[in-house]
């Protein structure tokens, strides 16, 4: 039997980090892991009022890479394991992540960036008023645009095209939304943009990049949007509109108003059902979802290239979208 006593192990590396607006009090016994985590932290002026703690022990003798994930949860506790040496325990009520990991996983920045940090925000976020929504987020002149849509609708390619069209980039896949005063604030993470192989037909800059096997097994370009496309990245913004993306086969673009009921349904479908033991988190999350649902929302149906869609969307936001926002 092996016993991992996290509270009785010396964790000399201590730092305060920030992920999607949530402050993280990290303690670990690994200088290398502390350095990896520090590199992924994004400071923002919109920090949430509550944060979380991470206690991470690295077993230097283990070189086991991250294996197949196995998740379970009951009441306020969620566990995740990625092979025998990599176990994570999330305590939602105490907003704590305790974990033991191998040396190989400790230095695998891709694992933390693409898996563990988004998973942690998804699980513990509910206790911090942070709602993960399956949408991209871009910003133009201080106004945020949430772009939702089913997988394959083109959120990531449109995000890149919009960032080449004057928008600042916040996120392309998962956006973390919290209440702030009477409004809401949307946060991104440092996760890379993931573009499927056919995106190379739209973005020449991808020709210099190599396809990689992504964490879910798909072949894709996983790129830093600032480095590859010269995009300006913002850690957070205040959303003004919600756009629900649908692709059609005809080269056209149409905008039709979307009801708040539809918007609420979509956002609610992004979030995990919470057990009754987490009733406070459930109620707080519902209030955030309500605010997202009250954003001016449209269905955007388009065919053609992402550049065409980006141009149409920009025109709409600058003219009709803004007028509609202020008319409400």
């Amino acid at each position: 039997m092996s016993l991992l006593c996290i509270d009785q192990t010396a964790l000399p590396y201590s730092m305060e980090l920030c992920f999607a607006g949530a402050t993280c009090d990290l303690r670990t016994n690994s200088c290398e892991l502390a350095s990896v985590m520090e590199g992924l932290s994004i400071s923002t002026g919109d920090a949430l009022s509550s944060g979380f703690t991470m206690r991470l022990i690295v077993e230097d003798s283990s070189e086991e890479a991250a294996g197949e994930p196995h998740f379970r949860g009951l009441h306020h506790v969620v566990t995740a394991s990625f092979g025998r040496s990599n176990v994570f325990v999330f305590d939602i009520l105490r907003r704590t992540l305790s974990a033991g990991v191998s040396a190989a996983v400790a230095r695998d920045d891709r694992f933390w960036k693409e898996k563990l940090i988004p998973i942690t925000l998804g699980i513990l976020g509910s206790a911090m008023g942070l709602v993960p929504v399956h949408c991209a987020c871009l910003e133009l002149d201080g106004d945020g645009l949430l772009i939702a849509g089913v997988s394959g609708a083109g959120k990531s390619t449109l995000s890149v095209a919009l960032s080449e069209n004057g928008f600042n980039y916040v996120s392309d896949d998962w956006t973390y939304i919290a209440r702030r005063g009477d409004g809401i604030v949307a946060h991104g993470t440092s996760a890379p943009v993931k573009l499927l192989p056919d995106a190379v037909g739209h973005f020449q800059k991808l020709q210099r990049r190599r396809l990689q096997r992504s964490m879910n097994g798909e072949l894709a370009y996983e790129v830093d949007i600032a480095e590859t496309f010269g995009a300006r990245v913002e850690p957070a913004c205040e959303p003004r509109w919600l756009i629900f993306l649908e692709r059609t086969h005809r080269a056209e673009s149409t905008f039709t108003p979307m009801s708040s009921t539809e918007a609420r349904t979509y956002v609610s479908s992004s979030v995990e059902k919470l057990p009754r033991q987490l009733y406070e988190a459930r109620a707080a999350r519902q209030q955030t979802i309500e605010r997202v649902a009250l954003l001016p929302s449209w269905h955007f149906r388009y065919g053609g290239t992402p550049q065409f869609a980006a141009k149409e969307l920009r025109e709409f936001v600058v003219h009709a979208g803004r007028r509609s926002t202020y008319d409400r």
Partner: protein, 133 residues
């Protein structure tokens, strides 16, 4: 729409129905046992180690799920402890959680784990009592 209307699949298996429910004792020292498996519920209800822990901590909730979809692999026992939480893994599939402050024993029991092993070995281990060989 409320949370109840979400249509996410229950990937964490948080919402597995537990129709076998026992309540033992009265007042603040009451022991609650919930499970989706009658054999587990009856065995935990009768386990001395659970009664001792319940008396010490002024009542206890035990919720254990027989997890037939979980991998029944591995015999390595690992315990992760951090303050109030103790979590026991047997392989990947069996996970027992003891929250000492809330006096809750929660968990998933893989299909290949025998009741005797659960009651005489795994539960004592996660409750901090010596492991029976």
């Amino acid at each position: 729409m409320t949370d109840e209307a979400c249509w996410h699949p229950d990937l964490l298996r948080r919402f597995v129905p537990t129709p076998y429910v026992f309540s033992i004792g009265d007042g603040p020292n009451r022991l609650f046992v919930e499970s989706n498996d009658l054999e587990i519920a009856l065995s935990v209800r009768g386990a001395d180690v659970v009664h001792r822990q319940s008396s010490r901590s002024g009542g206890m909730l035990c919720k254990l799920i027989r997890d037939t979809s979980s991998p029944g692999d591995g015999s390595e026992l690992t315990i992760v402890s951090n303050g109030a939480l103790w979590v026991l893994y047997l392989g990947w599939g069996t996970i027992l959680i003891h929250d000492r402050e809330r006096s809750e024993l929660l968990g998933f029991v893989a299909r290949n784990v025998q009741i005797q092993e659960l009651v005489w070995s795994l539960i004592p281990a996660v409750l901090g009592e010596s492991v029976q060989q």
